[in-house]
């Protein structure tokens, strides 16, 4: 257990140092969410406040998954992931290290967007509630990213594959269009997507509160995390058979 914890920390530390400045992490993890935020603000500054929870959730989604593509696929391509597998730590610890690396990257990005928006737009945020949604959301997105990234080898393949769920979620999870305005069938689909619960949770954490219990959203996001984590571990194990 101690070895695994040490391994997880080593991997996070090394990934932060090695990969966070890589072009794919910057373009998909930082530039893309910032561009979207600005685009929506410039289009309609008056109603922009209502979009903030969705844009924070979207930033969390893009930054974590972009980071996963870099920390996993660069190492798959160069064979460095095998180095970690040769160390005296479990495969689950390696995967958790990779997932938490993406989570830390997403934490910086989403927190920055949330804090800046809260200050500039005078949104009252219950920060304890905000982080109790942000952390499980980041874990769920990061685990989803790792699962998809392990299905391919190259970084560009991973980013392409990730765009499918990313864009589906952006349009169906209430980031831009309110869920209530969507047809019933799409509302049903939306409730199968983790981003929906992150958007709801962030709304509940702000003064744009919809009144839903925050713990429920957090629990659903944790369930998504586990749902993605175990198949990802299986896939990683299979990859090195």
């Amino acid at each position: 257990m101690r070895d695994d914890l040490r391994g997880i920390w080593c991997i996070i530390e090394k990934d932060m140092k090695t990969y966070y400045s890589k072009p794919p992490a910057i373009s998909w993890g930082i530039v893309f969410p910032v561009t979207w935020v600005l685009a929506f603000y410039l289009r309609n500054p008056v109603d922009f406040k209502g979009l903030v929870p969705g844009l924070v959730a979207m930033t969390a989604l893009f930054s974590t998954t972009a980071a996963e593509a870099v920390v996993i696929n660069f190492e798959l391509r160069l064979g460095s992931l095998e180095r970690l597998l040769l160390a005296p730590i479990s495969m689950m610890a390696i995967l958790l290290g990779k997932i938490l690396g993406g989570t830390v990257f997403g934490l910086f990005m989403s927190s920055a967007v949330a804090v800046i928006c809260a200050i500039l737009l005078n949104i009252h945020m219950d920060w304890a509630s905000f982080f109790s949604i942000l952390l499980p959301a980041l874990l769920a997105f990061s685990a989803m990213g790792s699962l998809l990234c392990l299905m391919v080898r190259e970084v560009f393949e991973a980013q392409t594959l990730l765009n499918l769920p990313r864009f589906v979620m952006v349009f169906l999870s209430g980031v831009i269009y309110p869920l209530e305005a969507m047809p019933r069938a799409l509302q049903f689909v939306a409730h199968l997507l983790p981003l929906t619960y992150a958007v709801k949770g962030f709304r509940d954490a702000s003064d744009l509160n919809q009144g839903a219990p925050i713990a429920l959203q957090a629990m659903v996001l944790m369930a998504f995390f586990l749902l993605f984590l175990f198949p990802a571990a299986k896939l990683l194990s299979k990859k090195f058979e």
């Binding site: 070895d3 040490r6 080593c10 160069l78 064979g79 460095s80 095998e82 160390a87 090195f240």
Partner: protein
């Protein structure tokens, strides 16, 4: 008292669908021994090393390291083994020193010791001047050396080397072999795979020859050579045309000599018996002997004799990085 076993493979099998990559192989490696796995590309060498290091699960059979079953104790066995994969796969963005320190930290080496060992390894592999250079900027030989150094950062008891010198120039390969020999002399158990016959001959106490997933021989290099060649050969050069000596020598020795070039012949047989015949035949022909060499059997000849394969299959270069 029996020497303790460092590595024990019992009936190891690895199948990928219908393909049998490793077919029920068994062998023991004693502590402090340097054991070579010799075979052509695709023979099952890397698959074996992956099973022994716990990277891959055997389809059947068991691997033990220092008495511990790798399958059920992989985390523990990884703690006292160092493994160098075929590809030099350290982190491009980290410097030589940072790579070593990261690996040390991953293996739980204490901070002070980690720094001391990293510096010592950089010195051992003559990489001190490159300590602050990113891995990606190093030459292929330096990358290989640093990858081996990284596998030694936690002072392992057993070192696995998968094709350690593949793709390196002669000087870099020679330098690495020297370090591997030094590690072996210090008592480290070394398991290496290679498709270079010369490398196996120089570095290994025992050699297992593996072909198509099966071990066809395990012996000391000298013994393998003896198994292959029962008779010695004598090669001699004369002052004139050697071809005129072929028939008289065939009559005297009972076997036809091989023409090496216009002035050199090779005869097979026992040296004591051959030399008087050669001297007589040369004298009768009115020629003079310029030089005489006893030809010792090589591992290459042993390999050909044992496996029935052409030595060219071993000369095929692998795409190492």
């Amino acid at each position: 008292m029996a020497t303790p076993t460092a590595i024990k493979a019992s009936g190891l099998v690895k199948r990928y669908g219908d393909l049998v990559a490793v077919d029920s192989i068994s062998f023991d490696v004693e502590k402090g021994e340097s054991f070579g796995f010799l075979g052509p590309n695709g023979a099952g060498k890397t698959t074996t090393i992956r099973m022994l290091t716990g990277l891959s699960k055997p389809t059947a059979g068991k691997a033990e390291l220092l008495g511990l079953d790798v399958g059920s104790n992989a985390t523990r066995t990884k703690g006292f083994t160092g493994a160098v994969p075929e590809v030099s796969n350290l982190y491009d963005e980290l410097t030589a020193l940072e790579n070593l320190l990261f690996m040390g930290k991953l293996y739980g080496v204490a901070n002070t010791e980690r720094h001391m060992r990293a510096e010592a390894l950089l010195e051992l592999f003559r990489l001190q001047e490159k300590r602050d250079r990113p891995f990606r900027t190093l030459s292929r030989g330096m990358k290989r050396a640093l990858t081996i150094a990284a596998a030694l950062i936690h002072n392992p008891k057993i070192l696995f080397l998968d094709e350690p010198t593949v793709g390196l120039d002669v000087m870099a390969a020679r330098s690495l072999r020297k370090v591997i020999k030094e590690l072996h002399d210090q008592g480290m158990t070394i398991f290496l795979t290679t498709h270079y016959l010369e490398e196996a001959d120089i570095l290994c106490d025992h050699i297992a020859i593996i072909v198509k997933g099966r071990i066809v021989a395990i012996e000391r290099p000298e013994k393998l050579k003896e198994m292959a060649i029962k008779e010695q050969a004598v090669e001699f050069t004369v002052s004139g045309d050697a071809s005129t000596l072929v028939e008289p020598l065939a009559a005297l020795t009972g076997s036809k000599p091989i023409i090496v070039n216009s002035s050199t012949l090779r005869c097979s047989g026992t040296t004591n018996r051959l030399l008087p015949h050669i001297c007589r035949a040369v004298q009768d022909a009115g020629a003079e002997i310029v030089s005489v060499n006893t030809i010792r059997p090589t591992l290459e000849e042993a390999f050909v004799r044992i496996t029935g394969l052409s030595p060219t299959v071993m000369a095929t270069e692998k795409g190492g990085k």
